[in-house]
Symmetry: C2
Subunit: 254 residues, 2 copies
DNA sequence: TTGTGTTGGTGCTATTATAGCTTCAAAGGA
DNA sequence: TCCTTTGAAGCTATAATAGCACCAACACAA
């Protein structure tokens, strides 16, 4: 991912602090966070205090940092603003009913896949958010198909980060890019995934235990692609007609 | 909310950019965003490019900005890291079954309430995220109870932001703080709300149309408080035992 | 109770990251 | 074809920031 001519270092590091606190899973002190991030503690402290002032974080009685109201609100705004989950869920439910498969919707970030949805035809419709720890992209059909749309530098970074052979990964991803889908037949159950969104934002997968990966392609690629197209179209309609939150309500420093 | 000695202006403004793009509800260009935020366009452009580089945002074919994978992942991490929704939902479901009321869980930020959950005993368990536009705090029992825990300066800001009489609001909020609950009997249906979390992070409300607000207190305060205590305890257990995402996976610049 | 170590947070100041003006190529619309 | 607006970046002055040193408070062990 190319940096712009003048990236803003404070914003980058501040978001990394936020990410680490959220990923910590429990309250964490400013010096502890600085050590775990390998940074100078005063700077981290100031970034944390700024996030606190904005209510993205708050402090418990021992002054350790934990999520605040603003980050919950950002989550809600993310889901509503992008419409990804609300548009995708009805399509995914139909897809699961028609195919009898489990399905997942996930995003790729920093060589990791995070599920937004994971469910089965039998279970009540369930949102996966909060259910799964992010996991390495190269172990996942969603990860591979999303990674295949990235540049060669990202492929090298991914190979290094995930500890796999770069040439092998390149062949695999090149094939995914060519075919427009990715297969994971190493996990149990196996899965097949395609991209959704324009620009691409997520991967959609169907999962089923099968004897041969070709069966995943033969049985499930077509309905999966149809579902992905439907979701992408719904997202584009969403982008054209979603009323914005009034600017007065968005403005936070007047 | 008091600013620290050396707040980081870039982080503040960068998060406001992100918030505005998400709240926009559709892709938005950098000059358009700068105009709507009342800021100089070069700076906004650099902040947007930085958010893009980190994949919090992405650009469509017309180079307009829309949510990217990282902000979805941050949402998932928020929900998982705080455990607020996953811990609260089973308790809320029981509460709705026992009382026959609709319920809501919401956070307060910038004088606005945002629902994380809103459901009824009859509907399948549903997450409200993405369902409701944030709305002004003083029109909501959740807003009032959360606001009552803030300082007097915040009360004045809220009165100004929501266009209500400061003295009237102060009396109302003082009463909420004293009683430990807030009533909204102006909306249809009426509702009663208490705080959850330690430190407080959200408000939990029950809603039902009643002839008199006293009936809300008499019938629903006790089960509501019980549910709030249960959720708060579960959150504290969560903070003690949630495994963190491995630091290797959190580290984004190595 | 006392001493030690660690904590969160800030004062001070050098410096560099940043902000804002200007400019440009590209794109869209009349 | 011309005009307007766009996203993006070069240049440079400056103010926001980074890092060191320090402090009061707290926890823990002796």
């Amino acid at each position: 991912m190319a940096l712009p001519a003048q990236p803003n270092r404070s914003l980058i590091d501040g978001l990394q602090c936020l990410y680490h606190v959220l990923g910590s899973g429990n309250p964490i002190g400013s010096r502890e966070l600085a050590r775990s991030m390998g940074e100078e503690h005063t700077r981290i402290n100031r970034l944390l205090k700024t996030l606190c002032a904005m209510e993205y974080l708050q402090q418990d009685e021992q002054k350790r940092y934990l999520p605040g109201a603003a980050v919950h609100l950002l989550s809600a705004l993310t889901i509503q603003g992008s419409g990804l989950l609300t548009k995708a869920l009805p399509v995914i439910e139909t897809l699961m009913q028609e195919t009898g498969c489990a399905a997942a919707l996930g995003v790729l970030w920093n060589q990791q896949v995070c599920y937004l949805f994971h469910g089965t035809p039998q279970s009540s419709l369930n949102i996966a958010i909060g259910r799964h720890v992010p996991f390495t992209a190269t172990n996942s059909s969603i990860g591979k198909i999303l990674l295949s749309q990235k540049c060669a530098d990202d492929w090298k970074s991914a190979a290094a980060a995930c500890g796999v052979d770069p040439l092998s990964l390149q062949r695999d991803l090149q094939n995914c890019a060519n075919e427009g889908y990715a297969i994971d037949d190493m996990s149990r159950p196996g899965s097949i995934a395609v991209c959704v969104g324009c620009p691409i934002v997520a991967g959609l997968a169907l999962m089923q235990g099968v004897d041969k990966p070709e069966i995943l392609v033969k049985k499930f690629l077509s309905p999966l692609q149809d579902a992905a197209v439907q979701i992408t179209e719904k997202l584009q309609e969403h982008d054209k007609q979603t009323p914005a939150v009034p600017a007065k309500q968005l403005n936070t420093h007047q």
